[in-house]
C-alpha cells in the first residue's frame, strides 16, 4: 500500500491498521497493562448482544415459538446435537461451556464484519487463550477420569509393535500441536479475510487517485462478494472451533475410539 498517498485519506492506512489495539481506558494493575481497549469493548458488546438476543428470545417461553424464540431454540439444538454427535450423553455437563464458546466466537466474528468495528478473534492472544483453555481443560478431564491410563492416547491402537517407538512421538507432537492449530486456524482466517477486504477497499481509493475511477466498481463488486464469503467463514470458523473442542473432549472422555 502506498502509505504516503495524499489523495485518499482512508487508503493511506495500511490494511493491518484495523487490528490495532487502542486503549480506551488505561488500567494498570501491579505493573500489568490491563487497559480497557477497543478489543475489550467489542468483547463486551458481543456478550451484551448474545445476552439480549438469547434472553430476549426466551422471554415468553412460548409452547409454540415465534421467529425469535425459534432462532434461539434452533441455535441451542444445533450445538446440543453437535455435542451429542461428537461426545455423546456424557458431554452434556460441558454443554454450557461449548455453547458459550461457540457463541463468543460466532458473535466476535460476525460483529467484526460491521464496518469500523473490531474483530477480537483476529488476535492470536485471544484465540490461543481460548484454545489453551480447551486444551488444558480437556487434558485435566482426561487425567482425572482415567489417571495414568490417559497416556494411552499417545499409543495408537492397531499399530505394529515395531512402529510404536515411531508413532508415540508423532502422537505426542500432534497432541501438543492441537491448541496451536486450533488457535492459528481461527486467527489466520479472521485476519486474512479482514486484510483482504481492506486491501480491496484500498484499491478503490488507489484507482480513484490514479485517475482510473472507472475500474473502481470492479473492486467494489469484489468487496460485496468477499463480504458474503466472509460471513460464511465467520460462521464456519466458529463451528470448526466448537466441533474440534468437542472432538478433543470426546478423546479425553472416551479413550480409543
Amino acid at each position: 500500500m502506498a502509505t504516503d498517498s495524499s489523495a485518499s485519506g482512508d487508503a493511506a492506512h495500511g490494511p493491518l491498521e484495523q487490528f490495532e489495539i487502542v486503549a480506551l481506558e488505561p488500567i494498570r494493575i501491579g505493573g500489568l497493562d490491563l487497559s480497557f481497549t477497543n478489543s475489550a469493548l467489542w468483547m463486551l458488546i458481543a456478550v451484551a448482544t448474545i445476552a439480549v438476543v438469547f434472553a430476549g428470545g426466551m422471554r415468553r417461553r412460548a409452547i409454540v415459538p415465534g421467529r425469535w424464540q425459534a432462532a434461539v431454540e434452533l441455535t441451542y439444538r444445533f450445538v446440543a446435537n453437535m455435542l451429542q454427535d461428537n461426545v455423546g450423553p456424557q458431554g452434556a455437563r460441558y454443554f454450557p461451556f461449548i455453547f458459550s464458546l461457540f457463541l463468543f466466537i460466532l458473535f466476535g466474528n460476525l460483529l467484526g464484519m460491521v464496518p469500523y468495528s473490531f474483530t477480537y478473534t483476529s488476535h492470536i492472544a485471544v484465540t490461543f487463550t481460548m484454545a489453551a483453555v480447551v486444551f488444558v481443560g480437556v487434558t485435566v478431564i482426561g487425567l482425572v477420569r482415567h489417571g495414568v491410563r490417559f497416556l494411552s492416547v499417545f499409543v495408537p491402537s492397531g499399530v505394529p509393535i515395531a512402529l510404536i517407538p515411531l508413532m508415540v512421538p508423532i502422537e505426542i507432537i500432534s497432541y501438543f500441536v492441537r491448541p496451536v492449530s486450533l488457535s492459528l486456524r481461527l486467527f489466520a482466517n479472521m485476519m486474512a479475510g479482514h486484510t483482504m477486504l481492506k486491501v480491496f477497499g484500498g484499491f478503490v481509493g488507489l484507482l480513484l487517485s490514479a485517475g482510473l475511477g472507472l475500474l473502481a466498481p470492479v473492486s467494489i463488486i469484489l468487496i460485496v462478494i468477499l463480504t458474503g464469503f466472509e460471513l460464511l467463514i465467520a460462521a464456519i470458523q466458529a463451528y470448526v472451533f466448537a466441533v474440534l473442542s468437542c472432538l478433543y473432549l470426546s478423546d479425553a472422555l472416551d479413550l480409543h475410539h
Binding site: M43, I63, P96
Partner: protein
C-alpha cells in the same frame, strides 16, 4: 503486525477471561435454564396431548364397536320378528284354509246326502205312482187280480234296471 505486540496480551487475555466468564454465567444461569424448561414444557405438553388423543381414539373405537354391535343386534331382532310374523301368517293361512276346506267338504257331503235323499224319495214316489198306475190300468182293463207285493217288486226291478 499488531497481533504480535506482546504488551497488549495481558489486557486482551484479562478482558477475554472477564467477558467470557460473564457470558458463561449468563448462558448457564439464565439462557440455558429458560430454553430447557421451555423445551421440557413443550415435550410434556405434546406427550399429554398425544396421550389424550390416544384415549379419545380408544373411546371412539369402543363407541364404534358398541354401535356396530347394537346395529347387528337390531338387525338380528328385525330379522327374527319378520320371520316370526311370516311364520304366524303362514300358520294362520294354513289353519284357515284347512278350516274352510273342511267346512266346504262338510257342506258338499251334506248336499250330496240331501240330493241322494231327494233322489231316493223321488224314485220311491215314482215307483209308487207307477205301481198305482199299473194297478189302475190293470183293474180297469182286466179282471186279473194283482198281488200288490209282487207288483211293487216288479216295478222296483224295472226302475232299477232303468236307472243302473
Amino acid at each position: 503486525m499488531p497481533q504480535l505486540r506482546v504488551e497488549t496480551f495481558p489486557s486482551q487475555i484479562f478482558w477475554l477471561v472477564v467477558t467470557f466468564s460473564l457470558l458463561y454465567v449468563v448462558i448457564s444461569r439464565i439462557v440455558l435454564p429458560q430454553v430447557r424448561t421451555t423445551l421440557r414444557a413443550r415435550e410434556t405438553r405434546i406427550g399429554a396431548d398425544r396421550e389424550q388423543a390416544d384415549e379419545l381414539r380408544k373411546e371412539a373405537e369402543a363407541a364404534h364397536l358398541r354401535g356396530s354391535e347394537a346395529l347387528a343386534a337390531a338387525r338380528a331382532d328385525s330379522e327374527r320378528l319378520l320371520r316370526e310374523a311370516h311364520d304366524q301368517a303362514t300358520v294362520a293361512f294354513r289353519t284357515e284354509t284347512q278350516r274352510l276346506q273342511e267346512a266346504l267338504e262338510n257342506e258338499r257331503v251334506e248336499a250330496e246326502a240331501r240330493i241322494e235323499t231327494s233322489r231316493a224319495e223321488a224314485l220311491r214316489d215314482a215307483e209308487a205312482a207307477a205301481t198305482e198306475l199299473v194297478r189302475s190300468l190293470t183293474s180297469a182293463l182286466t179282471t186279473v187280480q194283482i198281488d200288490d207285493a209282487a207288483l211293487s217288486r216288479v216295478v222296483a226291478q224295472a226302475a232299477r234296471a232303468k236307472t243302473s
